[in-house]
């Protein structure tokens, strides 16, 4: 019989995320972001994190506003149709955080290189862009095997910890994602520690019958947290969509006020109440 990996969110964040860590966040844009964990990171006042995410939005912006971040590696950080990510933009323009300019492939292949234990991966894209001018760890080389083809080589991306929000998990760490997986499975494989946060806790038997089974297998999961609506205000398919009103509220509100109202000393239940309670939940439920 396996041991349960269930923990509270507070314990999981304080145990597995240290100042200065390289933290991978799953999901994409406004979809399936581990927002409850981001709020907890702000509450615990973690510092100097490097954040890696495929396509970032609110979660990156909030962690920057909460002064938890010193570096971001992502190929896009924005608020989709709602505009730019204000704190990200300000931090990059003022030079208060570092960024590692990425493409989709530098992240996908960087994570793959990491779990394959090779220092780099080759790819066909990027040639002709200015990316190598701002990344001295990305180089154009000729095929070392002699075909004469030019390729780009991009470095591995090692993560200390991955934080992934998924619809279903069992208490042993098998996670199932309904919908697109994006970089989540790669992050789980390569991060030294993986925090899986789920909407619904199910039994292993249920995981067997879910399409895709355990895309996040138990052997790479360090800890499981149950947190319904934990991705709010981003979405978690198939349960709820992103909350446009809350995203607009975030963009309109000075972060100190936002933090006081929605983050500091707030339980998850209090957060959801502040964010509109039952009516908001009815609005976003599929």
């Amino acid at each position: 019989m396996s041991s349960s990996k269930l923990m509270t969110l507070e314990e999981a964040v304080s145990t597995y995320i240290q100042d200065g860590d390289h933290v991978g966040i799953g999901g994409l844009s406004f979809w399936r972001k581990a927002m409850s964990a981001c709020r907890e990171i702000v509450r615990q006042n973690k510092k100097h994190l490097s954040i890696c995410t495929f396509v970032g939005g609110l979660e990156v912006d909030m962690l920057i506003a909460g002064e938890c971040v010193s570096e971001v590696r992502s190929c896009f950080v924005g608020m989709e149709i709602f505009g730019m990510a204000p704190h990200y933009r300000k931090a990059v323009e003022s030079g208060s955080i570092k960024i590692s300019e990425e493409s989709e492939a530098t992240i996908a292949l960087g994570l793959r290189a990491s779990y394959l234990k090779v220092p780099f991966m080759p790819l066909k894209g990027i040639i002709g862009t200015d990316l190598p001018k701002v990344r001295n760890d990305i180089k154009q080389i000729e095929d070392p095997l002699g075909s004469g083809t030019q390729v780009m080589v991009v470095p591995k991306i090692d993560l200390d910890v991955a934080i992934l929000h998924v619809p279903y998990a069992d208490e042993y760490g098998n996670g199932n994602i309904a919908g697109a997986v994006w970089m989540d499975a790669d992050m789980a494989k390569t991060a030294k520690k993986t925090i899986v946060i789920c909407e619904k806790l199910v039994e292993t038997e249920d995981i067997r019958y879910l399409p895709g089974k355990a895309q996040l297998p138990m052997q790479t999961t360090s800890v499981v947290v149950k947190k319904p609506f934990g991705a709010h205000p981003t979405s978690c398919y198939p349960f709820y969509t992103f909350d446009p009103h809350h995203i607009q509220c975030y963009l309109k509100t000075n972060f100190e006020e936002y933090k006081k109202k929605f983050i500091s000393n707030k339980t998850h239940a209090q957060y959801l109440e502040e964010a509109g309670g039952v009516q908001t939940i009815f609005n976003i439920l599929v």
Binding site: F76, E101, E104, A105, L111, K124, I127, P244
Partner: protein
């Protein structure tokens, strides 16, 4: 004989022009926050390209069915896929495959006369005046799509159309130095703007005015472009949308006008955004309406 519409808006004209670029066997790649592209592909799908397939990059999914354009529930659409891609597949393997022809529209913040584009920053990269969201997959694919890349912008002005020496960062590859990329892609095929339709000269690879939209003066196009445009001796007028195209777009494809968010600004945009959110939140059935 098609009957042309006499009453259409600029977002409708651009959407129709983009739809006309789609071929029946294309994979149509829908990016993040580009409802005009989604509307164009869906219009193509319900008119001349019924076999074209959606690839939702934000879902990394392949989807066959057309659905009404939505702001809040795109994910419901992408999750109804017949195939999910894994991470590396999505970014590298399946899309540039020789078996597929793909069509993707990029919307650049800056574009030069060779179709090189910038979505990264305005000003120096390490001390930018404006940090833009980023270029995502444009850095990866712009140079090797077999059918080339497609560009659009509803903001045709000198801030967007800049000469090569003024482009702040090349994040999308056009015809660098007037030559095709060594990666084998066809390069940019067209630029569709609120003023005109452009393609690129076969020999010099310089941007060329192909047709000018109805009621737009040539001087207006020239004055809005930060480099010298190749213009034909005889101006050709852009073929306007047909009555049928406009009706489909308004009634079936995008009745909520989500595509208009790409062209409006200020209060008008704010009001439309609120209107779309209210209408969508009040829907009982959140799945975007199937159009088959």
């Amino acid at each position: 004989m098609s009957e042309y519409s006499k009453d259409y808006t600029i977002d409708e004209l651009m959407t129709v022009l983009m739809a006309r670029e789609v071929k029946n066997d294309d994979i149509m790649i829908v990016g993040v926050a580009t409802p005009m592209v989604w509307a164009a592909f869906t219009l193509a799908k319900v008119t001349h390209a019924p076999d074209a397939i959606y690839h939702y990059i934000m879902g990394n999914t392949f989807v066959a069915e057309p659905r009404q354009v939505s702001l809040l529930y795109l994910e419901m659409n992408t999750a109804r896929a017949y195939r999910f891609q894994d991470s590396v597949e999505c970014t590298l393997e399946a899309l540039p495959s020789d078996k597929l022809t793909t069509i993707e529209f990029f919307r650049p913040a800056q574009i030069d006369q060779y179709g090189n584009t910038n979505n990264i920053c305005i000003g120096e990269w390490d001390k930018p005046k404006i940090r833009l969201p980023g270029a995502a997959g444009i850095l990866d694919f712009s140079m090797f799509y077999a059918r080339g890349s497609f560009l659009y912008t509803p903001r045709h002005d000198k801030r967007t159309f800049v000469p090569s020496e003024k482009i702040d960062f090349i994040s999308g590859v056009g015809f660098p130095g007037g030559k095709p990329s060594i990666c084998g892609g066809l390069g940019p095929q067209c630029v569709i703007t609120n003023l005109a339709y452009f393609d690129f000269d076969d020999d010099t690879k310089l941007m060329k005015l192909r047709s000018i939209h109805p009621d737009v003066e040539l001087d207006k196009v020239k004055d809005s472009t930060g480099f010298e445009l190749i213009t034909p001796n005889e101006l050709i007028e852009t073929i306007p949308p047909t009555v049928k195209e406009i009706k489909l777009l308004r009634d079936k494809v995008d009745p909520l006008n989500v595509r208009k968010l790409e062209v409006l600004s200020g209060n008008e945009r704010k009001e439309l955004l609120e209107d779309i959110i209210q209408k969508e939140l009040h829907k009982q059935n959140k799945f975007p309406k199937l159009l088959i």
